[in-house]
Amino acid sequence: MYPVDLVAAFRAVEHVLGAGFRLVLLDLDGPLQSRSLPASAWLRIARVAVRSDAAIVVLSASRIAGAFATLSLEICPLRRAFVGEGGPCPVFEGAVSSLYLRKYKFGPSGGVPVDLFASTRA
């Protein structure tokens, strides 16, 4: 679904969790990103998730859930891979990134990052 604003998005998440879904993906990186929500909204939605025995995965450009997130992962881009540069038609092959565990409420955070290669052909 494509809610028109952030408030509608949060209300939609509550509806979806109330229906019995166990995993909800909330993509806030885009038009919805520009708006900010009070901490009480995150607290409320976190409580709904706990009560529904469900998980909410939030995608955003920055850490917006703050203290209410149980697990926080950050993907840092390292470099872009272009093939055939200097030739007549170079091709964008993908991006190399590192995945960091920034926060985990029930265990240690940090550690060795995991290298990811996001390929356009995978």
Binding site: R80, F82, C89, A122
Partner: protein, 505 residues
């Protein structure tokens, strides 16, 4: 021997009106056979009776007697809806239900022994369910339709005639209960026949010889035999409700208030059949002529009237009626609520009913065209997608998750994980300013991002739909900008403009 139950609503005209206007239950109310204060009073509420109003009075006379009298025209559509509702109630307990010409409902009680312990319990269940629909009902149960009908009228609430005793039940009752033709009734009265038992004792052939076929039929009815068997009606797929308003309504809140009651009636009737309401059509008749028809479709079949009320409110706020509304007609389209098969290996998802109502609520919240599943549209354009209806949860391929787990487990500590790179599409595409230098792309800005082009891939030329009035011709590039992002942009060759198609996430 068959057992038939008869359901009838006493003072049906009044009850059909009060069913849709429950706020008038305590007020003096008179239903008339004409509109706009003309005609005569046909039915009255108890409060109107206490105020001195009686059926047959002229409307002007009734107004003079009681200032507070509420006068409404009688509505044949409201009557039909009330009788259909009664049949819907009967359908919850029997598959064979008939509506006869006198607005009486008959149901076949045979074979329902598992649903009720006794016929008294059946009658109590029918009464309770009809009351929930706003209709007080009288129930009679006998061996035949006629016996059940007379039992319901005579019982004044509940009357059960024991099996095989219908004729004995009818014998002491007055002949007028058989609704004889007036001419035949006069002849029988001149013969001194005033009770049903007297007529039943006569030989039917001799009576038919003297009074015609109608007389013979009357004798058979007096013996408790039916003229026609019970003819079951088909389960309806559309449910109608309508309300004529006393004066034109042009404001949204009163209109939604009235709609709420009508929608509640329709959804509750659909729920009686174990179905869900998928679509509601609302028709408005305007003051001074003209009409309008609105269709509201829920994302999934549901029996929650609040969802349709919210849909109707949203629709009316967006497109209010052009004139004052004097009549509202509502048609609910019923359909099966889709059952879902649970997966043995996966946790149970949402229940079908909960999923249906959730989809409908989300459609109200986000808009019907923003909830669903993205599917490719029948087009050659790369961005051609459409939002299709969400039909339920699909079972993922088991090997996908198993394969992914195996690949993670087997990977070495320093080995890199390969995933698919996603393109976050901009819809609609974002207009850009692109500066070129020495035949190449130099700088890009627009849509909240911008920077010098560090590296680029492309162009890929794409053109199509040249056989239509709206062809496209584009040159696509993947550009890495100095802001760190990689974007897919294209130049529209026909319109000579640059657009951003998306960003690699």
């Amino acid at each position: 021997m068959s057992r038939i139950a008869c359901l009838l609503v006493p003072d049906l005209c009044l009850m059909a009106h009060l069913r849709l206007n429950s706020e008038l239950a305590e007020k003096p109310l008179a239903l008339t056979d004409g509109r706009a204060g003309r005609g005569r009073v046909v039915a009255i509420s108890p409060a109107a009776g206490k105020a001195g109003i009686f059926p047959g009075m002229a409307v002007t006379q009734a107004r003079a007697v009681c200032d507070a009298l509420v006068i409404r025209p009688i509505s044949s559509e409201a009557l039909a809806a009330a009788v259909s509702t009664l049949a819907d109630v009967a359908s919850t307990l029997s598959s064979r239900v008939e509506i006869d010409d006198h607005d009486v409902v008959f149901m076949d009680c045979e074979g329902g022994g598992l649903l009720w312990a006794s016929e008294a319990e059946l009658a109590a269940m029918l009464g309770a369910r009809a009351a929930r629909c706003g209709l007080p009902v009288w129930v009679g149960i006998a061996d035949s339709k006629l016996g059940a009908s007379v039992a319901a009228r005579e019982g004044g609430g509940l009357r059960i005639v024991p099996a095989g005793q219908t004729r004995e039940f009818l014998e002491p009752l007055p002949l007028v209960l058989l609704d004889p033709d007036p001419e035949i009734a006069a002849t029988l009265a001149s013969w001194g026949i005033r009770f049903i038992g007297d007529l039943a004792a006569l030989p039917s052939g001799a009576v038919a010889h003297r009074l015609g076929s109608a007389g013979g039929m009357l004798v058979r009815r007096a013996r408790g035999e039916d003229d026609t068997p019970l003819v079951a009606r088909q389960i309806p797929r559309t449910f109608h409700e309508s309300l004529v308003l006393e004066y034109g309504v042009d404001r949204l809140e009163p209109l939604v208030f009235i709609l709420r009651r009508l929608i509640e009636c329709v959804t509750s009737r659909i729920e009686l059949h174990g179905l869900g309401c998928r679509e509601i059509e609302i028709g408005f008749d305007f003051e001074g002529g003209g009409s309008d028809l609105r269709t509201m479709t829920a994302a999934a079949p549901t029996t929650e009237h609040k969802i349709f009320v919210t849909l109707a409110r949203a629709h009316l706020e967006k497109c209010p009626p052009a004139h004052s509304v004097t009549k509202i007609s509502l048609v609910g389209v019923a359909t099966q609520i889709r059952p879902t098969q649970l997966d043995f290996l996966r946790p149970s998802g949402p229940a079908p009913a909960a999923l249906a109502s959730t989809l409908a609520r989300l459609a109200v919240l986000c808009g019907p065209d923003r909830v669903g599943v993205l599917r490719r549209a029948d087009s050659h354009r790369p961005e051609a997608v459409e939002v299709a209806r969400f039909e339920g949860l699909s079972t993922p391929k088991q090997e996908t998750s198993a394969g992914a787990l195996a690949s993670i487990r087997d990977r070495g500590a320093n080995e890199r994980m390969v995933v698919h790179l996603a393109l976050r599409a901009f819809r609609p595409p974002v207009a850009l300013e692109v500066f070129e230098r020495a035949g190449g792309l130099d700088y890009v800005r627009g849509g909240g991002f911008g920077g010098r082009v560090v590296r680029r891939a492309g162009p890929w030329r794409l053109r199509g739909e040249w056989w239509t009035a709206d062809p496209y011709a584009r040159e696509y590039y993947d550009v890495e900008l100095s802001d760190g992002g990689v974007y897919r942009i294209y130049r529209d060759v026909r319109l000579q403009c640059w657009l951003a198609d998306g960003v690699y996430d």
